[in-house]
């Protein structure tokens, strides 16, 4: 068991954001978390990452209670790939990726030659080694996302958490990033992403967790979750779900569009 969340509750002051969320992710699985805006996806992420610690319930990461992990230990188990990263200064892609080595360094140390070599290996693996010397500000959104994934690989954590990795990317870049995430899951990484795209999570992920109102609405294989009934209940809109290519693809069409005829 890679990540296990049990009866997780979290509130910001009076306002309870997560009530009783439980789920499990196995090693090598690609889990997509779906849910409307403001449903607590980010809060859930922050709890699992150890950024928020005053929750009730338990989170177990690689068999260890997440609350007992130090910040450094947590970083060695889980790598975080933010939706977008805006460094205040001009770093090169290689510098940004090199930051992933920090959890393996002493407090007063700087990266060594071998760390730089690992960075280049990760860039090569993701296929962006030619961008290494480029300025992080100047590469495209998709390339930035891939660089952040490379940084997560350099961190050598078995669990990768991607926060809406495809938001604000063009269609081609979305597929590039999702393919990359799926490949990494096949290699044995545990990949967890939040997303607003049910169709893509159907195509790319192994399981889907649907959150609604701070609770788990449903959880299971994409075929079980991406149904007309579930989409209606999840997003509160009327949709038709149609199956294409022998059910390898499912398309959600708003009922209002079809109903016009």
């Amino acid at each position: 068991m890679s990540v296990e969340v049990k009866n997780l509750r979290f509130s910001y002051g009076e306002h309870e954001v997560l009530h009783d969320v439980s789920f499990k992710v196995e090693a090598g699985e690609f889990l997509s978390i779906l849910g409307p805006n403001g449903v607590g996806k980010s809060t859930l992420f922050r709890c699992v990452l150890g950024l928020l610690r005053d929750y009730t319930g338990s989170i177990t990461v690689e068999g260890r209670d997440a609350k007992t992990l130090s910040i450094r230990e947590a970083a060695r188990l889980i790598a975080y790939i933010p939706q977008s990263s805006h460094p205040a200064f001009n770093y090169s892609v290689r510098d940004i990726v090199l930051m992933g080595t920090t959890s393996g360094l002493g407090t007063f140390s700087t990266p060594r030659k071998e760390d730089v070599r690992r960075v280049d290996e990760a860039l090569e693996k993701i296929g962006i080694l030619d961008l290494a010397e480029r300025c992080f500000h100047r590469i495209s959104g998709g390339e930035r996302q891939l660089a952040l994934i490379a940084r997560a690989l350099v961190q050598r954590a078995p669990i990768l958490m991607l926060d809406e990795p495809t938001a604000s990317l063009d269609f081609g870049n979305q597929l590039l990033v999702l393919n990359c995430a799926r490949e990494l899951a096949r290699e044995g990484y545990t990949v967890i992403q939040t997303t607003h795209n049910p169709e893509q999570s159907y195509m790319f992920s192994d399981r889907i967790l649907a959150l609604r109102g701070g609770e788990v609405l449903t959880e299971g294989r994409p075929k079980e979750v991406l149904t007309q009934d579930m989409m209606r209940r999840l997003y509160g809109v009327e949709v038709e779900v149609s199956s294409l290519f022998g059910d390898r693809v499912r398309v959600c069409t708003p009922a209002s569009v079809i109903g016009e005829d």
Binding site: L51, A74, Y80, P82, A88, F89, Y91, T102, L105, R134
Partner: protein, 349 residues
């Protein structure tokens, strides 16, 4: 793609930049003795310094210079030269640190009120008639106290922690500036007011070994951690969530960096008075030379800041017999230079 992409936004690689800047600093230090009201020829300078070095081991060489030259070099010029290098080094390092810690390229060493506090402490000490050593102590103590106060206030501020800290810094700075103004109003206009005004303008004239002996400790205690934590400063500048997810305790690191940067700022302003612009301009200038990676940026800022202030102090010493306060000159040089940086060709800040 046929577009020519400028790959790097820096002139030199890190190690090359460090070597170059160290060489420039050493050259400027030696040249500083050759200019001034009592120019010291190079040969005599080497003789005096070599003799002083040998005297550590109880040895010595026959002096081929007169003793007044030795006094000018050893008791007047050298402490001042060392002090301007140290102050410049500290202010630039503190500025670079604050910019990273607050992820804000506009941050300067006085964001948290260190300068305003020092100014108030010094004005108060001059007002009650303390001697120059106590003026330094008062400025140093008051400077640290102000930053502690800013921390305490920001702890009670609602909302975002870093923003609260910066806002508290601005407010408390202006409170202390008002206090300083009030002291100036109450001070005797014939002797105390000019002294306060002169102190506030910033000056490195009249530096002695005792001043150096006092400030070197807080400066070293601050500069060493700033140098050693420079890689983590890169990670911290990515923002708290990302830094923590990469294994860096952002909150704690920020506090330690602020303590170290405040210590060196307080030590600097307590001896030199208000010297603005160095902490803001030098890090940006150095970013153009060696890039933004703090591994190289931090040592280059330390060297570059020292060189800059040394040059400006030499100008201030030589431009007129009474010497123009260095604080005025850094503003005259720094502000246009900064404008050039933000409007000129090249990358955004």
């Amino acid at each position: 793609m046929s577009l020519k992409v400028r790959k790097r936004d820096r002139l030199l690689s890190g190690p090359k930049a460090i070597l170059l800047m160290a060489a420039v600093l050493i050259a400027c230090t030696l040249l500083s003795f050759l200019f001034g009201r009592y120019p010291v020829p190079f040969k005599e300078l080497c003789g005096i310094l070599w003799n002083k070095f040998l005297s550590i081991f109880g040895a010595g060489i026959e002096p081929f210079w007169d003793s007044s030259m030795e006094i000018a070099v050893w008791n007047v010029r050298l402490p001042r030269v060392l002090m301007s290098v140290l102050v410049g080094c500290c202010l630039a390092a503190a500025g670079a640190t604050y910019q990273g810690v607050f992820q804000n390229p506009m941050a300067a060493p006085d964001v948290l009120g260190a300068s305003a506090g020092a100014g108030f402490g010094a004005a108060l000490a001059i007002y009650v008639g303390l001697s120059s050593m106590y003026i330094t102590f008062a400025a140093f103590g008051m400077s640290l106290l102000t930053v502690v106060l800013v921390f305490w206030v920001s702890k009670h501020a609602k909302g975002e922690r870093v923003l609260g800290l910066v806002l508290a810094g601005i407010m408390i700075s202006s409170l202390f500036q008002a206090g300083t103004s009030f002291i100036k109003l109450a001070a005797d206009p014939t002797n105390k007011l000019p002294e306060i005004t002169y102190w506030l303008m910033g000056s490195l004239s009249g530096m002695a070994w005792e001043d150096l002996g006092f400030v070197i400790w807080p400066m070293l205690i601050g500069l060493v951690p700033l140098f050693c934590l420079r890689w983590r400063l890169n990670v911290l500048s990515m923002g708290d969530d990302e830094a923590r997810a990469m294994g860096v305790d952002a909150g704690r690191l920020r506090i330690w960096l602020i303590i170290a940067a405040t210590l060196v700022t307080a030590a600097s302003v307590s001896v030199s008075g208000m010297i603005g612009w160095v902490g803001l301009v030098i890090p940006h200038m150095v970013r153009r030379i060696c890039g933004s990676d703090y591994r190289w940026l931090m040592p280059c800022c330390m060297l570059g800041g020292g060189t800059f202030l040394l040059i400006v102090d030499n100008i201030s010493r030589n431009i007129s017999t009474s010497g123009i306060p260095i604080g005025i000159l850094t503003a005259f040089v720094g502000a246009p230079f900064f404008l050039l940086l933000i409007t000129g060709r090249g990358e955004r800040l």
